[in-house]
Amino acid sequence: MKNLLVHIKKYKAETVLAPLFKMLEALFELFVPLVVKQIIDTGIANEDVPYILKMCGILAVLALVGLGFSITAQFFAAKAAVGFATSLRHSLFSHIQGLSYTEIDTLGSSKLITRMTSDVNQVQNGINLTLRLLLRSPFVVFGAMIMAFTVDTKAALVFVGTIPVLSIAVFGIMLITMPLYKGVQKKLDAVLSATRQSLTGSRVLRAFCREEHEIREFTEKNSLLANAQLVAGRISALLNPLTLVLINTAIIILIYTGALRVQSGILTQGAVVALYNYMSQILVELIKLANLIISITKAFSSARRIQDVFDTKASMEYPEEGAVPDFNAPAVAFRSVSMKYAASSESSLENISFEIQKGEKIGIIGSTGSGKTTLINLIPRFYDISEGEISLFGNPIKSYSKETLSSLVSVVPQKAALFTGTIRENLLWGNKNASEEDIQKAIEISQSTSVINSKTDGLDEMIEQGGKNLSGGQKQRLTIARALLKNSPILILDDSASALDAATDLALRKAINTMENSPAVFIVSQRTSAVSSCDKILVLEDGEAVGMGTHDSLLQTNEVYREIHASLAQGGVSNG
């Protein structure tokens, strides 16, 4: 929590000035009953019209000065809150980008997006309100009490009694209802989920004649919701009447005490009116305070969630001065590598060993969940292994700096992600300084020529968010082009041709063979046809290497490979 407040440091002056001006405003409000007292005791008693006019003029001036202070306070509060949020968003964004894959997996991107957006807004709102009201409301409440003391000590004791009782009533009701409303929200979620299920499962539900059963279940959940709402509502419904009784009872006692004091000649009639007016000011502010506390609680839980993200530190460290790759050594060497994800109890890879030279092609094949993607994610060091050793070009993978590593390995991930901007801008992600010629070559090899030609603006066509204006196959080819532009000595294609038709896939694989820098290529696939021309093929099953060899040798010796090959699902069957 404290760490978040760092972001408000730049606005120290504002954070002090905002509540200060708010208090000044309140102070001027507190003078009003005193002025009214003067009007009654002096003005009306003496029938002094100029005096009354003067006093009412003072009321107007008090209002005007109060307005000035209030506006100043609002400005400082807004400036501090917005500035805080801006700075917080910046460091949060930067922090999230610095996390390693392991943390990204644990936190999940949709959660991170919520932290960046609605949680930060919630905190901004909380800070703004806190600066404006947190001091003002107690100030008015206690200020009214102190002013009452200046009028008459004995009558003021009524205030001393009333304030705690009122506070207990207001905050007590809030404390009781807050968890109740959380419960209501949960029940509403249940109703929501029941509705969604009946919509998404309409065919299945009807096929199994479950409509009546679903309706019964829904009605039950819906009644639970209504009942929870009623219980919470019944208690919040107490707030108004209860405070009404308390404050007015206090006024009754106050007037009676006042009457006694007037009778003994200590107080004036105007003074009793002033006390009455002070009492009325308290209630409004207490209720404001209660509402403020709800907002602040929300802001606090958002702040806590944001802090959790900050507390998650990148688990991966890179040496400052990295090793220098030896391009004569094997491009990639795995020695007895095992890998276990942070969240899982079982290893995703067990005891994997292989070597690949520059210019060689290696196929990785296996069913989903066999560990293919895990394996290739280790090569760019997206994750650190739990056992064994990985070397790239003669050096342990951990000895490379982040930059060197990034230049050595180029990955085309399964999920083709492109970013808002032109096609060219997207391709240049691979290499900022790529020449026009480089780009053309990458486009050719990745079979993207037809994609570019189909666009009116060619390379300068804008890609919409999420690449909505491109088909899956088009996106895949462009991500391949982007990876090729990096010109890395290790190229990884992680099932990156799944949306391509067989002919394009074949052309792509042929074109990759012709690449000038002859990289070490990893081809991950579920189809034997995609890997059959590789120099070696690694067959994975349940995280273990169950075979290694060429297509022909595997076909003869390897049961799993044969099974995969034989299955007709691989033959480019249509997706009905």
Binding site: I40, V49, L53, L59, A60, G66, L67, S70, I71, Q74, A78, T86, H90, F93, S94, Q97, Y101, I104, S109, I113, M116, L188, T195, R196, Q197, S198, S202, R206, F208, C209, E211, H213, E214, F218, S223, L230, A237, L242, L244, N248, T249, I252, Y256, A259, V262, Q269, V272, V273, Y276, P380, S406, V411, K415, A417, Q526, L568, A569, V573, S574, G576
Partner: protein, 586 residues
């Protein structure tokens, strides 16, 4: 926020029909409101009277004050109790009405034609049932608690003021609109700031979405710095826009408070003069009451103006829910519809015509006769409309012309439930219900014993993966079957049908999204299931296609060829082409 939405005419009337059930509660609420407002307005007057008894330098009767104060206390108690009753009754009306509406809407969802559900996005229908009902209820509650009491308070206050002193009343009446005007003025002028804030916020969210959603790609290309840079650009733009929006909108309160204070000062002036020159009706005590009225007079105005906007929105939301509730339900079962206990499984399509869009012909004069136990494979390229046949057999949609006959009875003459009980369906798009594995399996046979469930799961080759789940058959699955692979979900769906064991099967074979080994298992499960049953299979697999008794070849939603493998290959038509490109060994 929400753009102004207008509710169509007649909405109010329909809404009233939902509320009307609670008319006694409404009457009670209205009476309570009137009493509560009356008491609330009466209490300051009583305090004024009490204050008037107090006289300096004069003897006054404490008993008289005590009497007034006791009377006040009684009124306070009455007021509180009545207010509480009113609040509770209002809550009840609101929550019950929204419960009733949701129940009606949900029941409707279950009898809507599939056509409606297919053509309306799930998210939209969902927001009608959840968000719209909520907003409608909020508006309704506000309307009840604030509109009526607000109006009464305004009228009551004015009445009292005019009764006490018409000059003060005039001051209040004339000056109060200024406060409303100021509030409106600020709201109008901050609208643009809010618009630009939400515009920039949208842009920023897009960058956040894109970067955090594809963080792995960003990191793989070491583009963190660049993304941070473009993020910062929108971030500082947002800072400016937010500051404007927040600051200017936060002026509303101080500004209206200022106007109120001016009204207060003017009232004090006019009132003070009236005390000693107005003929004696206004006293110091009553002046105090008047000032407290003046202080609170603008509150109901602000409330009413926000209620008006809220009510409009609320009605618009109600209209959206009503649209769903009033959508035409599917044709009901005929009164004399047959209950088909156990079908033999002979199916016949006679001159069937069907299309989703009346302007686009789809299936025309389709004839097919299926004997009990036969296997019918449906093949065709992606998106050829293979699900259309499933829709017709299951009566998710009704044929336009002709008829489908099960054991010589038109399926429209059979109750939907008994028809569907005879057919088991496994779709490629798996659907998991939030609940335990066992509950999911027994959807088609709720009274199944554990043993039957185990048996079915074993036959469906699902037992081995289920027993490895954390709590085996009692593992609670989330709505989208989180934690299960696509193949496992499919196996669960097959187990459901395996348990219910109907006479006719409709199966959608898995495609390449499922891994090879699981697929083999699913295939085995399908084979067990199909033994001696009439089966319609959307086929992706050579063995299924070649082993089928009848193959239906579909293209662009139409059935273009029909026959067994040998006949179709001899024809050398579209099937041959399809077969060579899809099923030929690589």
């Amino acid at each position: 926020m929400a753009e102004k939405r207008k509710a169509p005419k007649g909405t109010v009337k329909k809404v009233l029909s939902f509320i009307g059930i609670y008319k006694f509660r409404i009457l009670l609420s209205l009476i309570c409101a009137a009493v509560s407002v009356g008491a609330t307005l009466y209490i300051p007057l009583l305090f004024g009277n009490a204050l008037d008894v107090i006289k300096e330098n004069e003897d006054f009767s404490l008993e008289a004050i005590a009497e007034i104060l006791i009377k006040t206390f009684v009124w306070i108690t009455v007021c509180s109790v009545v207010t509480w009753i009113m609040n509770t009754v209002n809550n009840k009306i609101t929550f019950y009405v929204s419960r009733d509406i949701r129940n009606t809407a949900f029941r409707k969802i279950n009898i809507l034609p599939l056509n409606y559900l297919d053509t309306h996005p799930t998210g939209d229908t969902l927001s009608r049932v959840i968000t719209d009902v909520d907003q409608f209820a909020d508006g309704l509650l506000m309307g009840f608690t604030q509109l009526f009491t607000g109006l009464l308070t305004i009228l009551g206050t004015l009445g009292i003021l005019f009764f006490l002193n018409f000059r003060i009343a005039l001051v209040v009446l004339l000056l109060t609109p200024v406060s409303l005007f100021v509030a409106r003025f600020i709201a109008n002028h901050t609208f643009d700031f809010f618009k630009s804030q939400s515009l920039i916020r949208g842009k920023q969210t897009a960058i956040i979405d894109e970067t955090l959603g594809n963080l792995k790609t960003v990191k793989a290309f070491s583009k963190e710095e660049d993304q941070l840079h473009s993020f910062d650009e929108t971030n500082s733009a947002l800072q400016k826009a937010s500051l404007n929006a927040i600051f200017y909108s936060s002026l509303t309160n101080p500004a209206t408070r200022f106007v109120n204070s001016l009204v207060y000062a003017a009232t004090a002036f006019v009132g003070a003069l009236a005390v000693f020159s107005g003929g004696g009706t206004l006293t110091v005590g009553l002046l105090t009451s008047v000032l407290s009225y003046a202080n609170q007079y603008t509150k109901p105005f602000n409330e009413i103006s926000s209620v008006a906007a809220e009510l409009q929105n609320s009605l618009a939301c109600a209209a959206r829910v009503l649209e769903l509730i009033e959508a035409e339900a599917e044709v009901q079962d005929k009164a004399d519809a047959v209950i088909m206990e156990k079908a033999d499984g002979n199916m016949e399509f006679r001159d069937v015509c069907f299309s989703y869009d009346k302007n686009q012909k789809l299936i025309e004069d389709f004839n097919l006769s299926v004997k009990n136990g036969q296997k019918i494979a449906i093949v065709g390229p992606t998106g050829c409309g293979k699900t259309t046949l499933i829709n017709l057999i299951m009566r998710f949609y009704d044929v336009d012309k002709g008829g489908i006959y099960l054991d010589n009875t038109d399926i429209r003459d059979i109750t939907r439930h008994s028809l569907r009980s005879n057919i088991g369906m496994v779709l490629q798009e798996t659907w998991i219900k939030g609940g335990t594995v066992a509950e999911n399996i027994s959807i088609g046979k709720p009274d199944a014993t554990r043993e039957e469930i185990f048996e079915a799961a074993k036959k469906a080759h699902a037992h081995s993966f289920i027993k490895r789940l954390p709590k085996a058959y009692d593992t609670v699955l989330s709505e989208d079957g989180e934690g299960l692979s696509q193949g496992q979900k499919q196996l669960l769906c097959i187990t459901r049908v395996m348990l219910a064991l109907p006479e006719i099967l409709i199966l959608d074979e898995a495609t390449s999204s499922i891994d090879v080994r699981t697929e083999i298992r699913i295939q085995k499960a399908f084979n067990t299931l199909m033994e001696n049953r009439t089966s319609f299979i959307v086929a992706h697999r050579l063995s299924t296609v070649m082993g089928a008794d009848i193959i239906l070849v579909m293209k662009d939603g139409k059935i273009i060829e029909k026959g067994n493998h040998k006949e179709l290959m001899e024809k050398n038509g579209f099937y041959t082409e399809l077969f060579n490109s899809q099923f030929a060994v690589v």
